[in-house]
Symmetry: C2
Subunit: 110 residues, 2 copies
């Protein structure tokens, strides 16, 4: 995943409205109007949020008459957790190595 896509994906999740949309979409596809319903903002603003999510690759869209249902793209979410976990786990292992090193040095002293 390119730097640019990671930028956009994490940025997309850095907004409570868009995270709530992700939560809603995890239960199934929804139209822009359906997504707008819980919020006190204009439909246009919601449309923009959807475009941000789409550009980030976190959702895809289909066509149903004049509606454009939004679907979650779970693979993109998985890439994000993959990125984070890579470094989290690396840090954990680094920590363990340091711990082991300190342990052996302690044994040498005594």
């Amino acid at each position: 995943m390119s730097d640019d896509r990671l930028d956009r994906a994490f940025m997309a999740l850095a907004d409570p409205v868009r995270r709530a949309m992700i939560a809603r979409l995890s239960r199934g596809p929804a139209t822009v109007n359906e997504l707008a319903e819980p919020f006190a903002i204009s439909v246009q603003a919601v449309s923009k949020h959807v475009q941000v999510l789409e550009t980030a690759g976190l959702v895809t869209r289909s066509r149903d008459a004049q509606r454009r249902p939004v679907h979650l793209a779970p693979a993109a979410l998985e890439e994000l957790t993959g990125w984070i976990d890579g470094y989290r786990i690396a840090h954990e292992q680094q920590f363990r190595r340091l711990d082991a090193l300190l342990q052996t040095q302690k044994e040498k002293e005594s």
Copy 2:
């Protein structure tokens, strides 16, 4: 994890410089100057990035003479993957249920 902390944490990761810092810190603590070294930006800018990461709870800091080493906070990273995975897995299950429903309807028809 509050909306506000999630906002800050995802926002913090939505920048390639800060993600590179996370990558560096996964191999062990580093000072501001050490973190600045790979980048063509001022030390002040790096200091700001560190503050963003710290406010987001992704890193912590200690004291060593006039240095203020930065340490990764893996628990915060884990919370983020937890948030994402919650909805990713919910979506997966929803998808499976829908699939099963379509399957039984198909069987009824025949």
